[in-house]
């Protein structure tokens, strides 16, 4: 099966199209000119970053207050804005999962289990033939979110799952101190390494290059300062930063980022707005890192959307819950940017959050057969 992640020769028409898109992006500053020239040179590998700007974020505090979100505003100006994206209020976990499965998932808020419907990671791995190292998710919500990795579907499942890494769980001062207390990993003597290999072979196991890379990444990341991020919204900051580092180091085809700290809004409206601002700024750093790498800049597109919004009115604690069924809750804004998408378009019509999954799989030359959403051809370049 040919997939769009495999380099291939571009036809004249595709080259012209790519060149026009890249030049236009370069003109807006969203895409640097060096990257644009690389894009013109015919590298058609695609990469997608899908950010679930989750925790419950209303459009009022994002595109209704552009000063809060200069990054998203800039991406939208150079891409597609869908201000009427319909979502379902099925709890943070189930609704965020819906973005990845293309099916409205009625999952328990504190349910610690995989969903029944295949995720787009599984479609990319099984049907588009991507390697495990090519599909990553960086999360902010702890143990429950590792369930995003894969479904319990018999045809798909864990063997086609994504690598999920929860930044706050690993890159924190306590764990760093624990590892430091153990000292350095001792290099194995040649004879010992040989013995270990022989025993692993006898046990029917083979060495995993991927596991070694992940281990190295974790050790490196612990020294990069991610562990020192603290304060309100720290776990979202870590999720974005870990995503940024994963993306620039491993250069995977797909990166998902799932945020959560906006849910502080239940009891702290101002804290919620601050989380929105900080997350937008962190996304700006992520996007700048992508643009600083010519290969990534030329091939990476990004989609950002909350899983749902929040209530129209403040609660008795001067916070914002999510359960009133209002349009503030059910309609959110999606931003599409990068070479895979049109430029400078604002959609009047409604789209659905469950359309994201089949749209992403289509970018990689495959489909999402169990998704209920539809491919959004109107946003594609």
């Amino acid at each position: 099966m040919e997939t769009s992640s495999q380099p291939k020769r571009l036809g004249r028409r595709a080259l012209l199209k790519a060149g026009v898109a890249a030049s236009a992006l370069a003109a807006t500053g969203v895409l640097p000119s060096a990257a644009a020239s690389l894009f013109q040179a015919g590298d058609e590998k695609r990469r997608v970053i899908l950010v679930a700007f989750a925790g419950g974020v209303r459009s009022r505090e994002t595109f209704g207050s552009p000063a809060n979100i200069p990054t998203l505003r800039g991406l939208a100006d150079g891409g597609v804005l869908a201000p009427r994206t319909r979502t379902a209020n099925l709890g943070h976990y189930g609704t965020a999962l819906s973005i990845f499965t293309g099916v409205s998932e009625a999952r328990g808020i504190r349910e610690n289990g995989r969903g029944p419907d295949p995720t787009l990671f599984e479609y990319l791995r099984r049907d588009a033939g991507m390697a495990a190292s090519d599909v990553w998710i960086s999360t902010s919500g702890g143990a429950q979110q590792t369930n995003y990795s894969a479904s319990s579907h018999a045809k798909y499942g864990q063997k086609f799952g994504a690598n999920v890494l929860d930044g706050d769980g690993i890159f924190n001062r306590e764990f760093k101190a624990l590892l430091a207390s153990y000292g350095e990993v001792r290099p194995r003597d040649a004879g010992e390494a040989e013995g270990l290999d022989a025993m692993r072979k006898a046990l029917g196991e083979t060495g995993s290059e991927q596991a070694a890379r992940v281990e190295k990444y974790i050790l490196d990341e612990l020294t990069r300062g991610t562990t020192d991020i603290s304060g309100p919204g720290a776990s979202d900051q870590k999720a974005i930063r870990v995503g940024r580092n994963l993306f620039t180091i491993f250069k995977p085809s797909f990166l998902g980022i799932v945020l959560q700290n906006a849910d502080i809004a239940h009891g702290d409206y101002n804290g919620y707005v601050e989380v929105v601002r900080r997350n937008d700024a962190a996304l700006g750093e992520l996007w700048a890192a992508v643009q600083a790498d010519a290969e990534l800049a030329a091939t990476t597109s990004i989609i950002v959307l909350p899983e749902f919004g929040r209530d129209r009115d403040l609660n008795s604690r001067r916070g914002l819950d999510h359960g009133d069924g209002s349009d503030d809750l059910r309609l959110v804004t999606t931003t599409f940017a990068g070479p895979a998408f049109k430029r400078g378009v604002e959609l009047d019509s409604e789209i659905d959050a469950i359309d994201i999954c089949p749209t992403v799989t289509s970018l990689f030359g495959t489909s999402a057969p169990f998704a209920r959403g539809k491919r959004l051809s109107k946003v594609l370049a």
């Binding site: 999360t139 000292g183 596991a211």
Partner: protein, 346 residues
């Protein structure tokens, strides 16, 4: 179902029983105490032990995702294992205390989330199919009176009380506990009996557990290996390397980090190597290099100890050969086994 109460404990069943009861493998003294004894004897002893109820509480806190920063710190929750072991409180009241803890409130902020989680986690309800009850519960949470799950409510604590009084609470608790311990759906006829007993007397839960372990269902569960949870893995490594249960704090830091990965294998492998090479190296419960007289016998004893099974002839041959190599020793054998895929299952 055939009974398993007369089952004599071997390395495999003893290790599995300790994982199910205490969330860890047995310590050396416990192995010595229980190997060859009947399962029913072990079950009877452990169900009255605080360690069993500590593991039980840990499972319940995970079930409610009251972990990391949301882990309850109040004495009313922390004293539960002690009270449960003494029979001074029952499991129903214990869950009530957990749901009324400040941590539960902070974990589930706002009326919508709180009432939804109470309905889902305590009663196993699908809120999307019970939207009216959700709205009544939310109003009650905010102090407005109403009839929620058949009980008059007018406060946040009333919401929890109503859920626990609902008949679905008992059926959901017994069902999920059976699936956790026996790894399969409970048989319908017996399930009704267990629910009825629990509703009449919640203190019956321990004897219901004992009944499950004595049934053929647990013998069947022995055939079903399942990936070790990170919390069980951390305890397991400490027990198998140092013959001690980790302090709560050292276990938590490792477990939280491992919980952050969908595939914790690379980090588990790294942790084992660090623990074996680190400052506690001298505390490893391993024979000193060159002191093993019967190498083949030692290798054959280590497999059941760590993997709960015998070594195959080929495994024994390769491991004995490796043990004799210049740069290798007992620690090399342990490293291979503790980082193997088989060790990651219970």
């Amino acid at each position: 179902m055939d009974s398993s109460s007369a089952l004599k404990l071997d390395a495999r069943s003893l290790r599995a029983a300790f994982f199910d009861l205490d969330g860890r493998p047995p310590l050396a003294a416990e192995r010595e105490r229980w190997l060859g004894h009947e399962l029913s004897e072990l079950i009877g002893a452990r169900l009255g032990d605080e360690a069993f109820w500590s593991a039980w509480l840990e499972e319940q806190l995970y079930y409610f995702f009251l972990i990391n920063n949301f882990r309850p710190q109040s004495s009313r929750v922390l004293e539960l294992p002690q009270l449960l072991a003494k029979g001074a409180i029952d499991a129903q009241d214990a869950l009530w205390r957990i749901a009324l803890s400040p941590s539960f409130d902070q974990r589930n902020p706002g009326a919508d989330t709180f009432v939804t989680v109470v309905m889902e986690q305590l009663c196993g309800m699908v809120v999307q199919k019970n939207a009216r009850e959700l709205e009544i519960g939310k109003a009650g949470y905010d102090g407005r009176p109403g009839l929620f799950l058949g009980t008059r409510i007018g406060s946040q604590s009333d919401v929890v009380a109503a859920a626990i009084a609902d008949k679905r609470f008992a059926s959901h608790l017994i069902g999920r506990e059976y699936e956790r311990l026996m790894r399969g759906a409970p048989p319908k006829k017996e399930l009704r009996g267990w629910i009825s007993r629990f509703r009449k007397e919640p203190r019956e839960l321990a004897s219901i557990y004992a009944e499950w372990f004595a049934s053929g269902a647990w013998a069947e569960r022995l055939e079903l290996r399942r990936p070790l949870s990170n919390r069980a893995w951390v305890k397991s490594v400490f027990v198998d390397l140092f013959d001690r249960v980790p302090e709560a704090n050292e276990a938590r830091r490792m477990r939280d980090a491992l919980d952050g990965l969908s595939d914790p294998a690379p980090l588990r492998s790294l942790l084992v190597r660090l623990m074996m090479d680190g400052p506690d190296k001298e505390q490893l419960k391993l024979p000193a290099e060159g002191t093993i007289e019967d190498e083949s016998g030692w290798i054959r004893s280590v497999f059941p100890l760590l993997l709960g099974r015998e070594a195959t002839a080929e495994e024994a041959r390769v491991f004995v050969h490796t043990l004799r190599l210049k740069d290798c020793g007992p620690a090399t054998i342990y490293l291979a086994l503790l980082t193997s895929a088989a060790y990651q299952e219970d």
